[in-house]
């Protein structure tokens, strides 16, 4: 193999020079809040709207996106990709019931694959970033594992799923805080603000710091040039909130409350993407290993999901580096 030094192979690098796809990550702390349901539904609706869509199951320890989509398990998925460096994403995608939707499933019998190391994580991320299609939907795992946070932060749309229960709300907030600090840690190092931030955090009482918004405020005061720069970078995070399993219409209103709390707490814009009503049909169709949307179109849920997919699908946002 002759290596041409003058024309190095840039395809192996992670970068933003070529347009990949708009990445949508669906995360949210607690298990069982409907991350897989929301991500599979978004993927299906985007595919139905005519976009080339790829759904990736990144719940490495407990994959079930294929079940939500009603697709049989294939022999090659993301786990094989991790273990075999010669594989590419195009080798492991599988077809679904929807012509425009492809899936990379995460199911496998392999043990210990949930713990990916930095190199493997980086390889997955660069493959995601380079994959050519319109939308890539990432179904993340529960919890605030570092790789989950990194996958979440690389997305253009960072969707967080809440349900109206306190435990879910607490975990989802925890998840958002963890992603905030993960991103902060990365950029404070780059901008050489680590000492200042550590200093501020050590004297939280004196500086009255109770939230990221406070921290940024104090930092901007102390560092009038680099502070705003970091603040600007962090403002790109722009969380999008989905409220799932709302039992009543009034509960959907809670989504606006969550948005407001996030805005006040983090100090950057967050959006309420939409609320989804609780529907027994979801559970029933899961039991039949069939997606809800194959049969049922006359439900509120269908309209709510469609509205959500349209919101994401229509305005092609500018890509932002994570």
């Amino acid at each position: 193999m002759s290596q041409n030094i003058l024309r190095p192979d840039f395809t192996q690098l992670r970068g933003r020079s070529e347009h990949g796809s708009t990445i949508i990550a669906v995360g949210g702390g607690k298990g069982g809040v409907g991350k897989s349901f929301v991500s599979s539904s978004l993927a299906i609706f985007l595919a139905q709207l005519g976009y080339d869509t790829l759904a990736i199951d990144l719940d490495l320890g407990g994959a079930n996106l294929h079940t939500s989509l009603g697709v049989p398990i294939k022999d090659r998925g993301i786990n094989e990709f991790i273990l075999d460096p010669s594989l590419k994403f195009t080798d492991i995608t599988q077809e679904t019931h929807w012509p425009k939707l492809k899936l990379i499933s995460g199911s496998s019998e392999t043990l210990n694959v949930a713990n990916v190391d930095d190199e493997q994580r980086s390889r997955i991320m660069s493959s995601i970033a380079r994959y050519q299609c319109d939308f890539t939907v990432l179904d993340l795992s529960a919890g605030t594992h570092l790789s989950t946070l990194d996958f979440f932060l690389m997305a253009n749309h960072k969707v967080v799923v809440f349900t109206p229960e306190p435990s879910s709300i607490e975990n989802a907030y925890r998840f958002l805080k963890a992603s905030f600090f993960r991103k902060l840690r990365r950029y404070e190092f780059q901008l050489q603000l680590k000492t200042q931030i550590d200093g501020l955090m050590a004297n939280r009482k004196a500086h009255n710091i109770n939230s990221p918004a406070d921290l940024m405020h104090a930092l901007v005061k102390q560092e009038p040039i680099l502070g705003p720069k970091l603040k600007h970078i962090l403002e790109d995070m722009n969380f999008e909130i989905v409220l799932n399993q709302a039992r009543t219409r009034q509960e959907i209103e809670l989504g606006h409350a969550l948005q407001s709390v996030c805005v006040k707490y983090f100090g950057f814009p967050c959006h309420f993407l939409g609320g989804l009503e609780y529907d027994n049909a979801v559970w029933q169709s899961l039991r039949q290993k069939n997606h809800l949307l194959m049969a049922n179109r006359q439900t509120h849920l269908y309209a709510q999901l469609m509205a959500m997919a349209r919101k994401i699908g229509k305005p092609r946002r500018e890509k932002t580096a994570a």
Partner: protein, 230 residues
């Protein structure tokens, strides 16, 4: 409280309420209602993010924002302070407003002073409408009293005499300004059918404190005559 003020210092009331600076009154009210639900002690959305004390302080700030933004005059003043809108020039800007009524020799339009409704005693020879205080002119009162047939110009004259602006009128009787301009300038082509016009004139007269039935029938005489001639 001081801490909260610190945290959100530099934020406008619009940012506090999370509304667009162009938001209408109903949007602002909706945002306020949502904020109230969000920062009430029992709200599940606060869980693990804000302490009840912080939520209370935040609510006080939001309350303050709403007090200003929900009040039109205070909001306008605040917008001017922010530099969102220019301060209104002392002279009326609209070309229509600034041209004096044809028939008048300006003498009868006294200095118009728009004041809020208050209960204080007026000096002798003055009266008030909902929007203004004006000097009573016997000659004009007489004319209004004896009106048999009148056109839009007469209505305009009466309005200017009473010191009510077009904007106030439009806001009060919920008729768009363009229609009122057409009404006052006898532009019958633009106006809707007779029954609506009659309704407008009745409302209009009521705001000015005129005898609404008399003015309306006087106007309709003119209206019908003109329509038939055409």
């Amino acid at each position: 409280m001081k801490q909260m003020n610190d945290r959100y210092e530099g934020q406008t009331y619009y940012e506090l309420l999370e509304v667009n600076p162009q938001a209408g009154p109903s949007d602002i009210y909706l945002a306020y209602q949502r904020a109230r639900a969000t920062y009430s002690a029992s709200s599940p959305a606060l869980y693990s993010m804000f302490t009840p004390q912080e939520a209370q302080d935040l609510m006080a700030l939001i309350e303050e924002a709403f007090q200003t933004l929900s009040h039109q005059a205070r909001r306008t003043a605040y917008d001017q302070k922010l530099g969102l809108v220019k301060a209104p020039p002392t002279k009326p800007t609209s070309a229509y407003e600034s041209t004096p009524a044809k028939s008048s020799s300006d003498a009868w339009i006294g200095p118009v002073k728009v004041v809020r409704r208050s209960n204080e005693e007026l000096p002798k020879g003055f009266a008030r409408t909902k929007f203004s205080v004006y000097e009573v002119k016997a000659e004009l009162e007489q004319e209004i009293q004896n009106v048999q047939e009148c056109d839009g110009l007469f209505l305009q004259k009466a309005r200017l005499y009473k010191g009510v602006t077009l904007e106030q009128m439009s806001e009060e009787i919920r008729v768009i300004k363009a229609t009122l301009v057409a009404l006052e300038s006898n532009d019958l082509d633009v106006l809707p059918v007779a029954v609506f016009c009659r309704g407008f004139v009745i409302q209009y007269a009521r705001v000015l404190g005129l005898d609404e039935n008399k003015v309306a029938s006087a106007y309709m005489k003119f209206f019908k005559a003109r329509k038939v001639v055409k």
